[in-house]
Symmetry: C2
Subunit: 490 residues, 2 copies
């Protein structure tokens, strides 16, 4: 790419910014042609778009520090991005400016299976770490459905979950520390390889902060011992309702499944058409039910699950006994589940994957509600979700070229999320707030609660130059005036 690329209106300012960034990372690590930048106009949330002014690809912490200094000197906003798999617009460059793409900081720096940690750069893809740990007896537990693409930095930003969240928790439960470049370009080490640390738990604060505190440049992840074995069962039900009741029945029976995933009929058909796994396409719903742990307990737990399935009118179509998660049959069933979104891509030009949470016992209610929404807005909705967590992922299918469909999808999404709140749940289980759901925050939190969050954000990011308009409104005077720090000193 050359320096004569298409320039924004204020050419001289923009070209000085570009020259300064080029001096930091070299011309090979910058994109600024409009056609190249188009790739970065959105992430997995395709409804809002904004082209960044420039995309830089740092290859070291020193690069990130220098880039942030340049942005501060030019007073332009900056936003980090990993693989762009965010489903909530977490990497949308709302006010333009500099996108800091971390995909070239992708090394696995250290693996210590004995003390159960690894140190990785933020651009390392989730599944690379899984592969690198093969044979060590330990693994990195968070396994988002997008794990073959999403980066560990992105997992940290959104506090990502996955099918095994039910038993193993979300990303924050598996991060021991980070190195972060703060918005003032200082580099701070938070946490460390040891499991507990004195002082404030800033690691927990940074995980899930969606880039609003700075740019994470290293992640120390905790590793989890592999189970001795497990059982993965495919349950087939006439209806989504009987399947959800079986989910409640399994939990009530005192079993802690490693995963409990549901696919509705639309989803089963899409997956089956795409991958030919042998899913029963007539089923009203399919449940993937998994237990893992001490081998001696597995058959008994699988039997208990089978009994619950039968009690709710379902049948167990497959039962896989496995010793490692690398066995072909095991991998096939999970590939089908994790490729569900890809399968939908074959049947709809565009789709919006929503992310809501309800108390597990409210699953039948929200599913019935979504049927109504689907009819009222004339939008097809497929469902695949982490049933054990009450974390729903309705997939709203539409054609983004039709503005009316876009409008209907937005309104339908909104109704579904409002119903989640009304049922005692929340508007995101694992994808984050991003730009998509900022307007929902006041429905979940009181002004004082939001002021406390804003006060913390402002402590790190007082000018709001880093990831502006993400997670919380930036610099809104109502919130600023109400922030606890300012009120107390007033």
């Amino acid at each position: 790419m050359s320096a004569t690329a298409a320039q924004p209106a204020t050419a001289s300012t923009a070209s000085r910014l570009l020259a300064d960034l080029r001096a930091v990372v070299g011309p090979e690590n910058i994109l600024n042609h409009h056609d190249e930048l188009l790739v970065y106009e959105c992430d997995g949330y395709v409804i809002e778009k904004k082209v960044p002014d420039v995309v830089v690809f740092p290859t070291s912490t020193e690069h990130v520090v220098a880039i942030v200094k340049v942005c501060n000197a030019h007073d332009v906003p900056f936003v980090p991005r990993g693989a762009g798999t965010s489903l909530a617009g977490g990497t949308l460059p709302v006010g333009g400016g500099v996108m800091i793409c971390l995909t070239r900081m992708k090394r696995i720096l250290e693996i210590n299976a004995r003390d159960r940690y690894a140190i990785v750069e933020p651009g390392a893809v989730n599944v690379w770490l899984t592969r690198a740990l093969a044979g060590t007896g330990v693994h990195f537990a968070p396994d988002p459905s997008s794990q073959t693409a999403c980066t560990i930095g992105g997992n940290v930003a959104t506090n990502a979950g996955g099918p095994h969240t039910l038993k193993y928790g979300v990303t924050v439960n598996h991060v021991r520390g980070v190195e972060i470049v703060l918005p003032d370009a200082s580099v701070v080490q938070i946490g460390g390889v040891a499991e507990d640390d004195p002082g404030y738990d800033l690691t927990g604060l940074v995980v899930g902060s969606e880039g609003t505190f700075g740019i994470v440049t290293k992640v120390i992840v905790g590793l989890t011992r592999n189970p001795e074995g497990g059982r993965t069962l495919l349950g087939v039900f006439d209806s989504v309702e009987s399947a959800t009741e079986a989910v409640s029945g399994i939990i009530a029976a005192g079993i802690v499944p490693a995963a409990l995933e549901m696919l509705d009929n639309i989803m089963v058909r899409a997956v089956e058409d795409a991958f030919h796994f042998g899913f029963p396409v007539e089923a009203g719903a399919v449940l993937i039910m998994e237990v893992d742990g001490v081998e001696a307990a597995m058959d008994r737990e699988a039997q208990a699950i089978t009994e619950v399935v039968h009690a709710h009118g379902g049948k167990v179509d497959k039962a896989i006994a496995w010793r490692t998660r690398k066995e072909p049959e095991y991998m096939a069933i999970w590939k089908s589940r994790k490729s569900a979104f890809g399968a939908i891509g074959r049947v709809s030009p565009t789709f919006c994957t929503q992310d809501g949470v309800v108390p597990r016992t409210m699953l039948p209610n929200i599913l019935r509600f979504m049927e109504g929404v689907s009819k009222r807005y004339d939008i097809r909705i497929a469902n695949v979700f982490h049933a054990g967590d009450g974390n729903i992922h309705p997939i709203l299918m539409f054609d983004e070229r039709d503005p009316d469909q876009v409008k209907r999808v937005l309104e339908a999404s909104h109704e579904i999320l409002e119903e989640c709140i009304r049922l005692g749940g929340s508007v995101t289980g694992e994808h984050g707030i991003g730009v998509e759901k900022m307007a929902m925050m006041p429905k979940l939190f009181t002004p004082d609660d939001l002021a406390a969050m804003a006060a913390v954000r402002d402590a790190f990011n007082p000018d709001g130059r880093c990831s502006p308009s993400k997670l919380l409104p930036t610099g809104g005077h109502c919130i600023e005036r109400a922030s606890p720090g300012r009120r107390a000193s007033a």
Copy 2:
């Protein structure tokens, strides 16, 4: 108590403060006689003392709000206190002022075993919750040795651990949310009964913040399913070294024990003299080794542990198979362990319980080092510790009436903690920084790291009136100038 109590020098100011506080909580909920206040001059850390000006006992969140407003109006510092079991001076009223004692906010407000949470007031004693949950099939996992006295609010303040931390984690892993009165007297709800929440993880930030962000007035704790059963084994070894090697051996064998506690010979003798449990008083060290979980796996795991013990020259003196943690033999062994500190009270007029962490593999090194320290400073040191976590608790015995002994204990403690850092560990595993270890913070963190923590603290507590001089130095200009927020906007 009457309004004519002994008054400090500035009688009129002090009496106005007292009158204002009395108007809030009523005369029955205030102490201000000097002889009554003496009880509150220190907590479990007896080396520094300071009498508060007044102690108030709120019985509601509204009381706490009104008390904080009075303190702000009078510009006096305030500090929360629970049962005063802190071992690091966490409740020392460093600058005098108002002590807010939460022991009359002690109700268990709700228990929901199905959704696995309970809501308690901060003054509820840890073991009360355990008792209230009997028969529900779930329990509150954090079980500090002081659990019959310490409050859940104190557990939250220090992010307390306990013998079962090894498998079940520390307090933060079992807190879903809090209600907190911020230093500006606003009331904020953080987290909730659901397991995941959008927005910043302020729950994790508040847990372990030692009262420097405000006063927690409600705690939503997560409850853990009881195991089907377990095995508790008493291992007897010739030396502390062979016992610590067995600890490493057990972990290396792939067992995740529920607890791995060590008592050295001095400790075994003290416990045996006090409680006559039948501990072998000639043993160089005793290990309490526990596994819990699926009953079908227990015998095999107990056998594996026994083999490791034998391989390191030890023997298994007792092996208790239990189905609940209420069985008498089970309770007796843990009573002995948890009363270790009390037992020391019978053999030494005063003692200082230290709290350090080393990588587990460094346990033999730190134990050898402590032997040398004991000799050099002529201070007897008993050892009881969470061996599985590498969390040591040397107990330094002395007579506080002898200033030279006090000096030697402080220097010996300091040397031990410095060695913990040198070995790759930290200066506190579970008791917190308090006032005792503030000076060690710069040895663990860079100025930028500390500035980031100070920035967060200042966001909540800008005037430092709430729990001053705890965890981090208050209002030191070096730190204030270096805080990221201020630097970025400078």
